[in-house]
């Protein structure tokens, strides 16, 4: 018989600080002893939830295009957003509004984007952050490229990429992780493991026990956190980011959560998942969990909650108002950012469009008269 020995082993650790009912599993990380820090996280989650609900309502009333709500997953996006430094770069998927808002993308910009206006991706705040990425998993390599830029320039900055559980089945995500491992890039990949990829459940996506272990094959550390526990998300993502910043290389963090609503406003999840499953998962959702801790610590009361509700509503309504009153894009703008300078060969087509629009406008005016 030949020799037989174990040449590699791995373990995946999972972190949680708050039980679903908000009971702390002591000791909590020191940063969470600060009331304002925790309250800021709570506010950001409620703000995100308020925004999502309003966006869905806008879509239902024909005032917004398809929209992807993050209901139930606010702790993932807010936690990772809060773990980043302003100079880091976020490379999001399409369900990270909680992180985008934290980093200074405005609600108006998000509404413009989902309302079909490219200006929504011209963020006034985080100028280097990437726009939403629709082709699933395709942006992981962008984060690797950005991380490579930081490394080449010797800048202590980190690229943070977010993908879904479904995206981890794509080669793009593996190729990026593999390369990040080879070059020890300052890149953190957060997997929003919300159990569903439209109608495909996590079990049909992969036979792997965890998604975090997909990092192992690339020689990258991977771990899980309870994605409905914002303290766990923020703590573990911040540790990974700071390790990456100090040159210790990339990491994968799988945040286990649950999509409490439809995939997008175009989806009807009742076609493929039993309502009992969703009802059961409401008991684990992140907002009440953190509020329970705040209340137990005497840091939050009815007045605070009422004040926050009113603030969030006012913020969202102001953004909706700005969105609905944003002057229309000129049709010719479709030509104006295709290249740095319009190629001569396209000038004719641009003029053609301009003339077509002018004709349409003229006949519309004629119609009214």
């Amino acid at each position: 018989m030949g020799s037989d020995r174990v040449v590699a082993r791995f373990e995946i650790h999972s972190t949680r600080y708050l039980e679903p009912d908000g009971t702390p599993i002591e000791p909590l990380p020191a940063w969470s002893d600060d009331r304002d820090t925790l309250v800021d996280l709570y506010r950001a989650m409620v703000r995100t939830r308020t925004f999502d609900a309003r966006a869905v309502a806008l879509q239902r009333t024909g005032q917004l295009g398809t929209f992807a709500s993050s209901l139930g997953q606010e702790a993932v996006a807010v936690g990772l957003g809060a773990a980043m430094q302003p100079e880091d770069v976020l490379v999001p998927s399409f369900r990270e509004q909680g992180a985008q808002l934290w980093r200074g993308v405005t609600m108006t910009e998000l509404l413009l984007y989902w309302g079909g206006d490219e200006r929504g991706s011209d963020f006034a705040g985080p100028r280097e952050d990437f726009p939403i990425s629709v082709p699933v998993g395709s942006h992981a390599s962008h984060a690797a490229g950005i991380a490579m830029a930081f490394q080449l320039r010797g800048e202590p900055r980190v690229a943070v990429c977010v993908v879904g559980d479904g995206a981890t089945s794509k080669g793009d995500v593996y190729e990026a992780l593999n390369f990040a491992g080879v070059r020890r890039l300052p890149m953190v990949l957060v997997v929003n493991d919300n159990q569903w990829a439209i109608s495909v459940p996590r079990a049909v996506q992969t036979a792997a026990t965890t998604l975090a272990q997909k990092a192992v094959a690339a020689g990258v550390p991977g771990e899980q956190v309870d994605g409905n526990d914002v303290i766990a998300v923020r703590t573990q993502v911040a540790l990974a980011i700071e390790r990456a910043r100090s040159g210790e290389g990339p990491a994968v963090i799988e945040a286990v959560t649950y999509r409490l609503t439809d995939h997008t406003t175009s989806d009807d999840a009742s076609r493929y998942r039993p309502p009992e499953e969703v009802t059961e998962r409401w008991a684990h959702e992140p907002v009440v969990r953190l509020r329970s801790l705040l209340v137990a610590r005497g840091w939050w009361g009815k007045d605070d909650e009422e004040g926050l509700t009113a603030d969030c509503r006012a913020d969202v309504e102001a953004a909706v108002d700005a969105y609905l009153h944003t002057p229309a894009l000129p049709a010719t703008s479709m030509f104006d950012h295709l290249h740095a300078e319009l190629p001569a060969a396209l000038a004719g087509q641009r003029a053609e469009l301009e003339a077509a629009v002018a004709r349409t406008d003229a006949s519309a005016e004629g119609g009214h008269g």
Partner: protein
């Protein structure tokens, strides 16, 4: 001054751009110590170091995506594909991201990258190594697609592609890599993108082509001259966007056009040029626009490759037929 091969001219252009601009990087498979499978990056690692000449894993989708991230951060990555048949996994990145990042973000982020790939048949290479699918990429808004036809043109066009603030696909005809040689002045002067080059002036017939087949087209033009037909030869050079003005102006004078390309016929760039001639040049035409192209078949392996590629005889046949109309 030196007589260089096309592959030497390409290497010289990259070295010049890297020396002039520290944001220029080269990425790809085997491009470091090995100097690239065609030696296009030979010596660059020693000269510019491993931070600027970067060997990647065999991850074609990845390196196009890296270029998007690096480009958005202000680098000018040059990505080398060993053969065009292996670029296809990177098409997702080119189509969905590189070509539209500027538009998606209203100019906030952009992707100043050059994707270089070995292109075309004629060297008896293995399967998947002889692709001429420039039309695939030319169809994508936001991408420039450039094909050099000679060492000096490769040098100048590559410098222009690297300097361009947007993504450029640069397709290098492998069968012109090693010959003929041509004098190339390494003076850092780019040649203009989006412009045809007139390689030979003539009044009777316009021959339009790009890339490797210009070799055969120029030979055919010589043979036609011996028959008393003076052909104008246009090197389209940038097949997206196309400088239709130069082509139309020539056909206005000659009244006759033969378009020659190695790629398959249906949906090829030749169809686009013929449509423009029909649309904007109809009144100048004395004869139907002819196309001499690869067939709508898979390019055969080495033994039948010559039967697929447009040769001088086919070009002459089309030119003579075109001249019969009066």
């Amino acid at each position: 001054m030196a007589e260089l091969t096309m592959v030497e001219a390409i290497r010289t252009a990259m070295a010049r751009a890297m020396a002039d601009d520290p944001s220029v990087l080269v990425l790809g498979e085997d491009i470091g110590r090995d100097g690239g499978v065609f030696r296009a990056t030979d010596g660059l690692l020693d000269r510019f170091g491993p931070d600027r000449v970067i060997d990647t894993p065999i991850s074609e989708a990845l390196f196009c995506g890296l270029a998007v991230g690096l480009g958005a951060q202000g680098f000018r990555p040059i990505v080398e594909f060993q053969f065009l048949g292996f670029l296809y996994p990177g098409l997702d990145q080119l189509i969905n991201h590189a070509s539209r990042l500027r538009n998606r973000t209203r100019g906030r982020l952009s992707c100043p990258t050059v994707v270089r790939s070995v292109w075309g048949g004629g060297i008896g290479a293995p399967e998947h190594h002889s692709e001429a699918t420039e039309a695939l990429m030319a169809h994508i808004p936001g991408l420039r697609v450039v094909l050099p036809s000679s060492p000096a043109r490769a040098y100048g066009l590559l410098l222009a592609a690297i300097a361009d603030p947007d993504p450029v696909v640069f397709l290098e005809p492998s069968r012109r890599y090693r010959s003929p040689r041509e004098e190339v002045v390494d003076d850092g002067h780019p040649l203009p993108l989006d412009r045809c080059a007139v390689l030979r002036h003539g009044t009777d017939l316009t021959l339009v082509s790009w890339g490797a087949t210009l070799g055969e087209v120029l030979e055919a033009a010589d043979a036609l001259a011996a028959e008393g037909v003076e052909a104008e030869v246009i090197d389209v050079s940038t097949v997206k966007p196309i400088d239709t003005g130069t082509i139309l102006a020539s056909v206005e004078r000659t009244g006759r056009a033969v378009i020659v390309h190695e790629a398959a016929r249906a949906g090829g760039i030749g169809a686009e040029i013929a449509a423009v001639l029909a649309d904007e040049g109809l009144t100048s035409l004395l004869a139907p626009v002819a196309r001499v192209t690869g067939y709508d078949t898979v390019i055969p392996l080495a033994r039948l490759e010559h039967a697929y590629l447009p040769d001088v005889e086919r070009i002459l046949g089309a030119a003579r037929r075109t001249m019969e109309y009066s």
